[in-house]
Homo-oligomer: 401 residues x 2
């Protein structure tokens, strides 16, 4: 899926961004990035559940316990995963270097990495890169940050919105790194949610949970995930609004805004799937629970037979029905309805012949929405994914990740 | 994967086989097949767990309650799935037609179907096909039967062995239909295990469970399965051996023989995967339970990133480790060992550089074995699968199944 990115300058009050190229990537492209806050920010995060969690994930988990961070130091080109004790030392070292350069306590810096697995980080390069990135920190550096965290991404991924909290307008910006046919696979997703709002720690945690569930759970974070998936929220508090407490109208408003930019980013990540030609959204309703709805959406959206049918523009509801039935969720086929775009293609256990022509039209576009009503409850779930093309096979068979 | 099939005549005492072409397949190739027994045979079976189980599966499940069958009537080209009441009536009708032609009670005939989903069976064609197949029944028709049940299969799949029970030699033959990148996807698998041994019903059920778990669980039957997956065992009793009771040495010997031919068939099915260029076996040991071992094997063997790496001959242990970690099985990365062929590529949380060259050699062949030791128990599991190639995408994006 092609995408033009309009890189108008973006400022998030309280935050500065730096980036540098230090040679971790063989391409010579930028590979170290820092986001820093003027003052310690309220912080929350969620990480991969992969048992082979990378060293930076282990270190970041520890750092997040106090719910405060002042900077995140990111490198691309090397995941620092499956690197043992050396990897943990390198992740700590990166934080210490960034902390010294920024003159902040090391305990307020968290690391993140993405790239190849199983190779130690090159220390000398990393040291130079962090020093250079720190020097370059500026309020207008958001797009440089977004570019420096890319690996196989074809374009940088940024989304912003504003929301009124009491009488103040606050900003929510989100930056992501991620490509690849994420779910059910293993390309890394890094997400940075930044806001100038004042948010209580409990409210920040609730926002991270909501964005993860609504926007990224279908993709990668918190699901079957790569070694490095991380989603951070930093609130600088520069807006000076009365602190948004958990459950308050202000916190809910910020949560809605964060979910909105999160979903936009998730769509950008799916559209940038390796070899993706179509952006596919699977919406499941009528489920007995949100977990059941997500399970069905994942089963359909991760079936290679369904995904190759999407690539071919084939309105093949049989493969979709089959994936629903194999999901493990107890459903009654007689109550299931499947729509491709607006066309009903399956209802009451039978295909609907009348829907075939408009379903084929719905499959022809760059965006396909599959709507599945299980007829067995009121819960919903969504998965954002892409099709499976020749280029996907080419890309992933020819390159070592 | 190329395969030459040596079609020497195979006889299984007590059984006859018929086949016919009646036009269910647009290609005009044979599409109706019958296996019939001289006398009512001891029967056991296992079927798909897919919630959209096809009409023939529903009917066959009922018929199997008495543990006796005298014939199975199979059609290819149409799965009779998602066909509602009409589909159930057609499945019953097929059994009734076969029963009349064979002069056996309709309750002793089970149906099986494979092919496109959501289109009703053409009744007139089916009637003619069953009549013609019944007329052609002969002891030497096993290969005709094996060919008539094919859909996207490139070659017929048959495996036989003999085993001594007491003082008698008995035969175990297995015939399968199945291609496609079966797990975790949805191509149909039909398996017919035939023996001339005398087996008690409880022993027959135990054999079906064992073969399903050892040979086909990783592939399809009993796992995440298509609408039509079915595995039947028929024992004609023509060998006249003292009846093999459940748990007896004789029953265990037959079970081993049946598992052997089952694994051979599973390998044939995987090798015939759509666009498959490599046969891949994932062997997991050191697991806390057989279910955990199978779960890890499935996670690795169904990852499209792992499968495309196999296609590219890339010894990418990072993707394998990542899939193990994402499997949901609680493992300790420090205790995991990964071998590609004989080469250790990952041990104690780190990649093993010395293994890289011989691992690359191991990836170059037509058969790849991945051995994973979780270091957390004594249970084992296996998945037989294939790589993911350009031809897979081509085949499945261009054709409606």
């Amino acid at each position: 899926v092609k995408r033009d990115v309009d890189e108008r300058p973006i400022f998030v009050p309280g935050f500065g961004f730096g980036a540098a190229a230090c040679g971790i990537k063989a391409s010579g492209l930028p590979d170290v990035a820092i986001v820093a806050c003027e003052r310690p920010a309220t912080a929350a995060a969620t990480f991969t559940r992969n048992r082979f969690a990378a060293a930076p994930v282990t270190v970041a988990r520890e750092r997040l316990r106090a719910n405060r961070l002042q900077a995140i130091v990111v490198n691309s080109g090397n995941a620092n995963a499956c690197t043992g004790r050396r990897g943990l030392a390198d992740a700590h070292h990166a934080c210490a270097l960034a902390a010294r350069a920024l003159k902040v306590p090391p305990g307020l810096v968290a690391p993140a990495s993405t790239g190849i697995i199983g190779t130690p980080l090159p220390r000398r390069e990393l040291e130079l890169g962090i020093a250079a990135a720190a020097v370059s920190i500026a309020p207008d550096g958001l797009w440089r940050f977004a570019r420096a965290i890319m690996t196989s991404d074809a374009f940088p991924k940024v989304s912003t919105t504003t929301v009124t909290v009491g009488r103040q307008r606050v900003m929510v910006a989100a930056i992501a790194k991620g490509a690849g046919m994420i779910a059910p696979d293993l390309a890394t997703l890094l997400v940075f949610l930044l806001t100038d709002a004042v948010i209580a720690p409990a409210a920040a945690k609730a926002i991270v949970r909501a964005v993860s569930a609504e926007a990224f759970n279908g993709l990668s974070v918190d699901g079957d995930t790569s070694t490095n998936d991380s989603l951070f929220l930093l609130a600088s508090g520069a807006a000076g609004n009365p602190g948004a407490k958990a459950g308050s109208p202000a916190a809910r408003a910020i949560e809605r805004a964060a979910t909105e930019v999160g979903v936009d980013l998730a769509r950008q990540v799916a559209a940038d799937g390796e070899g993706a030609t179509k952006l596919v959204t699977i919406e499941v309703g009528g489920a007995p629970s949100p977990a059941a709805a997500r399970k069905v959406a994942r089963a359909v959206g991760s079936s290679t037979l369904v995904k190759t049918a999407f690539f071919g523009g084939d309105p093949n509801w049989g493969r979709i029905a089959c994936a629903i039935g194999a999901s493990g969720v107890p459903i009654d086929p007689e109550r299931v309805t499947i729509r491709l775009g607006r066309a009903v293609v399956f209802r009451r256990g039978l295909g609907v012949e009348a829907g075939r022509v408009s379903a084929r039209e719905a499959m022809a576009g760059q965006e396909i929405t599959v709507r599945i009503d299980l007829g067995g409850g009121s819960s919903r779930g969504r998965l954002i994914t892409s099709d499976l093309s020749h280029d996907y096979v080419e890309f992933n068979s020819a390159y070592t990740t």
